[in-house]
């Protein structure tokens, strides 16, 4: 029975027509997966090329002065990106100043302090904060956070810090509520979960033996954290921070709601400003004239270059960590 059965089976498998068909299917499937994979590369290339083409009229018209001029006047067709670049950088810096220590604190709490029972719910809650769409942060920032900051935080800042010799200039003027500072705070809340989650994952890769050695020498929890865990996970932490920075730089909707959309550079953080992404979101559909549209696309190209550099550097750092043998 085995004899005859195996013979027919063998015949079926090496039937040349069948085998040829299998090979064709194999080639088709392989080609399909390969082309899908290559499409990912083409998308990034296509993004870069199409932005370059769209930005070309503005780039050739204004040249390098596009990034050094503050003026943004659709009536006279004069466009410069400096105010938008300034707003993007400053709001992101404020966000990082607030979110990095807070994210570090949350990661520290989750890895070292949290009772095991609460670890999961708190971890999930932090991740859910990351899932909330940015437009929700925008509407919340405009209607809830901005009035609170206007009534309570900003008058305090003006009264107490407004007179300081160097920093004072940052906190002058009336408390508008909406403005650069508020945008920075909203961004901080948005990137907080990303920074906290990455730091937590990086901290989890520290070999327990190292930490135990620290405790064994009589170190306190904080000393183990600062002198053992942090030095060990420095690369990963910086990678996580830069990933958060990349998000903050490119974030659009949340900022658009609360920045105030003024194309000028104010010395005060309380004044309205603009960012690259919010300028595009606000003005693109209303832009008339090729130069106006092209200038907005040139802003997009700038944003693409900035965020690509930051995110690529962040990924490279996180990857270096992976190659060292710790899964991230």
């Amino acid at each position: 029975m085995e004899n005859s059965g195996s013979e027919t089976d063998t015949v079926a498998i090496i039937d040349p027509r069948h085998a040829a068909k299998q090979l064709i299917y194999e080639r088709i499937f392989r080609a399909a997966t390969l082309s899908a994979a290559i499409l990912v590369l083409l998308i990034l290339g296509g993004v870069a090329l199409s932005l370059l083409r769209g930005a070309w009229p503005a780039v050739s018209h204004f040249g390098f002065s596009f990034v050094t001029r503050e003026i943004w006047n659709p009536v006279t067709d004069q466009f410069g990106a400096l105010a938008a670049i300034y707003g993007t950088v400053v709001t992101s810096l404020i966000a990082m100043l607030l979110a990095v220590p807070a994210g570090f604190g949350i990661a520290l709490f989750l890895t070292e302090l949290c009772p095991p029972l609460l670890k999961r719910p708190i971890g999930v809650a932090v991740e859910l904060l990351a899932a909330v769409p940015s437009i929700i942060f925008g509407i919340w920032g405009l209607f809830v956070l901005a009035p609170v900051l206007q009534r309570h935080a900003q008058p305090w800042l003006i009264a107490h810090l407004g007179h300081l010799p160097l920093l004072g200039g940052l906190f002058k003027g009336p408390p508008f509520g909406i403005g650069v500072l508020t945008a920075g705070v909203v961004l901080a809340i948005m990137v907080l979960p990303f920074i906290a989650a990455t730091m937590r994952e990086v901290f989890d890769t520290v070999p327990p033996m190292l930490k135990e050695s620290g405790y064994g020498l009589g170190a306190t929890t904080w000393e183990v954290m600062w002198n053992v865990v942090v030095p060990h996970s420095r690369v990963g932490m910086v990678g996580g921070i830069m990933l958060g920075l990349g998000r903050a730089l490119g974030e659009t909707m949340a900022v658009t709601f609360v920045i105030g959309n003024a194309h000028r550079i104010s010395s005060s953080l309380l004044a309205p400003g603009t960012t690259i992404s919010s300028a595009i979101a606000n003005e693109f559909t209303e832009a008339v004239g090729d130069l106006y549209t092209s200038s907005l696309i040139a802003l997009g190209l700038l944003l693409f270059l900035i965020t690509f550099t930051v995110i690529a550097a962040a990924q490279a750092m996180l990857r270096r960590l992976e190659r060292r043998g710790f899964a991230v």
Binding site: A36, V40, L44, V47, L51, G105, F109, W222, G250, T307
Partner: protein, 284 residues
């Protein structure tokens, strides 16, 4: 002794600060959810799901926006996820350690956190400019580009979780890799891949920036894919920034609907993943 107290005090201060940071983070989530509930529930009514977006001051609902969002999200997933799944399959099964795969993984992770407004500009340049007008299909394309990195990443991760023995057994039976992938690997990794799809839906259904200048918006009922189509995020954006009370109420109601949908999707994805891990853990 003083040095010891100093160290203890320092420890106490920093641990307390970390507690404060966690409390602040959770408070932000709670505050956002509370605001949405208190403002959004007031505007909840049957009209939301039966009437179109109104003119300022008039009565109306969000039906056309809900429909448009559903259509474009669905189309975005239908276009984007097969590409993501196939590309993920290439990375996990064919490419693995090749240089091409390393580059694609890297680029994919960059795309995963790239600003979505850039994708909107890209689709505007390649679709809207050529068609000459805004359209639902352009919006769906923008969303599909955002869905690809999410599905690619989860598919590759999930295929890598399938025990190597299953693949070897299939190969030993004489199956070509395509047959192994379709008949053994995909079924084994099915719930993981579905999780990836859920995460992708959650990611794209709240996206506003890429729709602003692709699908635009439409105050009226429209089912045409080559015409501007209403969608929830852009309606929220326009209505929330308007001075009209009835528009702002609708914006809050829409914000509540979108957030609840996304949170439910993310939580179910997480539950599936947790169940999957538990299953894997006990199976070993």
């Amino acid at each position: 002794m003083t040095r010891r107290t100093l160290r203890k005090a320092k420890n106490g201060i920093f641990l307390a600060l970390s507690l404060v940071a966690t409390a602040l983070g959770l408070a932000c989530l709670a505050a956002i959810l509370w605001t949405l509930l208190s403002h959004g529930l007031a505007g909840m009514s049957w009209n939301l799901f039966t009437q179109m977006t109104p003119p300022p001051g008039g009565q109306g609902g969000l039906l056309n926006a809900l429909y448009g969002s559903a259509v474009m999200t669905l189309l975005g997933i239908l276009i984007g996820s097969p590409i993501g799944v196939l590309a993920g399959t290439y990375l996990a099964e064919y490419g693995r350690d090749s240089r091409l795969s390393t580059v694609i993984r890297f680029i994919n992770d960059v795309l995963l956190s790239a600003p979505s407004i850039i994708i909107g500009l890209f689709v505007y340049e390649i679709v809207v400019v050529h068609m000459g007008h805004f359209s639902a299909i352009a919006g769906a394309l923008a969303l599909s580009i955002l869905a690809i990195p999410v599905t690619l990443r989860t598919t590759e991760d999930m295929l890598n979780l399938v025990p190597i023995g299953m693949k070897d057994s299939s190969a030993a039976l004489g199956a070509y890799p395509w047959r192994t992938t379709l008949s053994v690997l995909y079924p084994a990794a099915r719930s993981g891949i579905v999780t990836g799809l859920l995460l992708a839906v959650a990611r794209i259904s709240g996206e506003t920036a890429p729709l602003l200048f692709t699908a635009l918006n439409n105050q009226f009922w429209s089912t045409q894919l080559n015409a501007p189509m209403a969608n929830l995020p852009v309606v929220i954006f326009q209505f929330a920034l308007s001075p009209y009370k009835n528009w702002q109420d609708l914006a809050w109601a829409g914000a509540l609907i979108i957030t609840v949908t996304i949170l439910v999707l993310s939580i179910s994805a997480r539950v599936i993943l947790a169940l999957l891990q538990a299953e894997r853990g006990s199976g070993r």
